[in-house]
Structure formats: structure tokens, C-alpha cells
């Protein structure tokens, strides 16, 4: 059980959720933010602060957004384009800073028209 950031976050990256997360489990990719599923404690603090309503508990993801759950996992457990090894569970995004990569799926998404 964990929260998931869906693709509405792409090119927006408001970062309010990062400020809320008590376990620092939200990591910054190039185009969107991602939640480390093993580090998330399911507290729900991030969900209401997202200005584009991109965050859902994985239990209630709308059908068309179920792919985003797998995409959050891929960000941490697959080797991302341009990287040499998987990120895994680093134990806090304040430690890692921006990751400077995205999942293959995120990279292919068209520019977000809502971004300025």
C-alpha cells in the first residue's frame, strides 16, 4: 500500500508534496515526481496539497491511471535511461537531491499543456 504520483505531475513538479512528506520518500525526476513505494508510510499528507490532483492511494487509482503505479516502481527498481544502476531505496530525497532521470514512459509523454 502506497500513494502514487500520476502523469498529471509531468512538467509541473510543484513540489508541495515533497514539503509535506514526513518520511521524505518523494523523489524529483526531470519531468515529474515519484513516490518510493517501500518508503511510503501511507499517511496521505501529500494528496491534498497537490495543485493538479496528481496523487492517489494505489488502492483507489482510476483504471486509466493504474499504469502510473508500475511507473513509480520502475523509477526506483529498474535501471533508468542514462543511469548505470537502479536507485532502489535510498532512504530520503533530501539525501539524494534531484535524480536527473525519468522512466521510459514519462520520457515519451507529450509536453503537458497545463505547464507554463
Amino acid at each position: 500500500m502506497t500513494y502514487v504520483i500520476t502523469s498529471s505531475c509531468v512538467d509541473i513538479k510543484d513540489m508541495s508534496c515533497i514539503e509535506e512528506c514526513p518520511v521524505d520518500c518523494i523523489y524529483e525526476g526531470d519531468r515529474k515526481l515519484y513516490i518510493q513505494p517501500k518508503e511510503c508510510i501511507d499517511c496521505g499528507a501529500c494528496e491534498p496539497v497537490c495543485p493538479v490532483d496528481a496523487i492517489y492511494p494505489d488502492r483507489t487509482l482510476p483504471t486509466e491511471k493504474v499504469v502510473d503505479k508500475e511507473d513509480n516502481r520502475v523509477f526506483f527498481y529498474d535501471v533508468l535511461p542514462g543511469k548505470d544502476e537502479a536507485l532502489g531505496s535510498p532512504g530520503g530525497s533530501m539525501k539524494t537531491g534531484p535524480i536527473e532521470a525519468d522512466t521510459p514512459r514519462t520520457l515519451e509523454l507529450p509536453p503537458n499543456p497545463d505547464a507554463d
Binding site: P22, V23, E39, I41, G91
Partner: protein
Amino acid sequence: MADVGVDVLVVGAGPSGLNAAYYAGFRGLSVAVLDALPEAGGQITALYPEKMIFDIAGFPAVRGKDLVENLVNQAAPFEPKYLLGEQAIGYSDRGDDVLVTCTSGLTVEAKAVIVTGGIGTFNPRPLPGGEVFEGNGLEYIVPTYVPYAGKDVVVVGGGDSAVDWALGLEGVAASVTLVHRRDEFRAHAHSVKLLKDSSITVITPVSPVSVNGDGTVASLTVRDVKTKESREIPCHALVAALGFTADISPLEAWGLATQDRHILVDTTMATNLPRVFAAGDITEYPGKVRLISVGFGEAATAVNNAATVIDPEATVFPGHSTEGAQA
């Protein structure tokens, strides 16, 4: 000689630790409970004191802070020694007992330790660029309003702490400005209404960029999240209420065997270290479920097994509480 000597030291005053304190007392063991936070209650106190909890057996519904109060009251007859505001960072095995050291220098010797550290110690989230001003005009918690008398104060944040502190400072401080990165505040609706009716200057949606001053805080620079325009707000004091983050590393430094920042335990809740047991959210084993009721059970298992380490003649089973008179 250590500063404190007890049979059982409980590290972490969340629900699991408070139940461990009760069980240690029930077994006739002297007990101390240590927590980095100034108050007992762990995640419940830090993250959701006002929420209703519906899955505590025997309580169809209970408010978070009431559950914590009940746990403290349940252990109270055994007079646990509370060591609050203390972070445990060091552990050494001395054969017949263990010595635990804290950041403040406090030392505790115990015959057994129950680690109920949950997701780790909560620390205030630091204000970017604020490090050099900590204690020189920048504070992360406001235990009393007196030092702010006559000052121009800026509070950063949008949660209950930020809004409550801003309201408390109004009338004491010369002026109060509240800055937040969103237009909406997630503090209690009632507090937000009080804020609207107050003399507090509210600036949103801005995020802090830099703290300025020569040794002590003189101003805060903020940037408008939408227009990207920056402005400088002169002030004598700055309060950053940006929430908490949890950090498990002080416990990892003990040499505990962990997996993804959780402590591996066996069926008696024993860890790899002599005389050290664990219970609650911090434990890991196949099938682990992180809930308060599970932590309660693990705390009972840990303390009753620790009792046999403290006194090899003792039995694991404590006897039924229905049989004995309370202390």
C-alpha cells in the same frame, strides 16, 4: 555510573513503546522510556493527534490523542521514567547489561532494551539556507512566546503549527507575517478563520529563497510561486514550521541488522544484538503488517521474552492481568 539505570529501556514513546512500558511495569521491572520528541505518542502525536482511529480492538472509535493519553495512564501506576527530548545514538554491550547514550550526553544502563523507534526520530524539516541562523533568530519550534516580545516575526508554513504559532505570537510580537507556498492553509478550519480575522499579514503563494543577515536574521527573501517575483521581508525572528521528517540512521549506527531501514527480528522479537529487542513499525519479518494493534502485540512479546533474559528463572508467560492487583 550511568545517569539512569533501569531493568528495561524503551527507545521510542509511540504506541508500541508505551505498551512496552506498561508490560515491563506489569512484570515488576523498572522501566524508562526515551523519545526524541518532547511529547509521547510517536506518529500519532506528530502526524494525526485529532484523527479518529477505528481499528484498535476494544475501541470502536478513539481519537489519536485520547489513545495516547490512555496508554500513558495505563503505564502510569508503574512510574516509568520518561526521558523526552532525548535521541538515542549509541549502544554498547557490557556483558551483564547495555549502555545507551544520547545526543545530549545522557547515558542509560539497562538489562534489556526494547527498540520501538517506528519510522525513526522526527526532526523539523530544515529551512533551505537557514543552517547558519539556527539559534540566531531562526527557530523550528516555539515552546514559549515570551522571547518574541516586541519583535517583527515571520512564520513560514501552512499547517497547524505554523498557524497556531502565528496566532499565539499576535499581540506579543510587534508584528507577525505568515508566508506559505499555497493560498490554502491545511490547518484546522477554525484556526484559519481566526487567522483571517487577525492582524497577521499573510503572504501567499510564496516559497522562501534565502535568509539574510549578518550573523543574526535580518530578513527573509521569498519568491512568488506564480509570478516568480522576489521580495524581501525584514524581520528580527523567523519561525520555520515546515513539518517533520523521520530519520532512522541513529539506530542503524548501533549495528542492528536491518532490511530497508527496518530491524530484523525473530519470533521472540529479539534482534541480532544481545539484550536488544524490537517491536512496532520498526520491525521486519515475512508477513509484517504495520499497524498499531500489531505493535501492541509485538511489544508484549518483546517485553515478556526480555524478562527471561533479565532473569533466566523468569517465565515468558507473564500470568493473566486479571489475576493480580494493579500496582
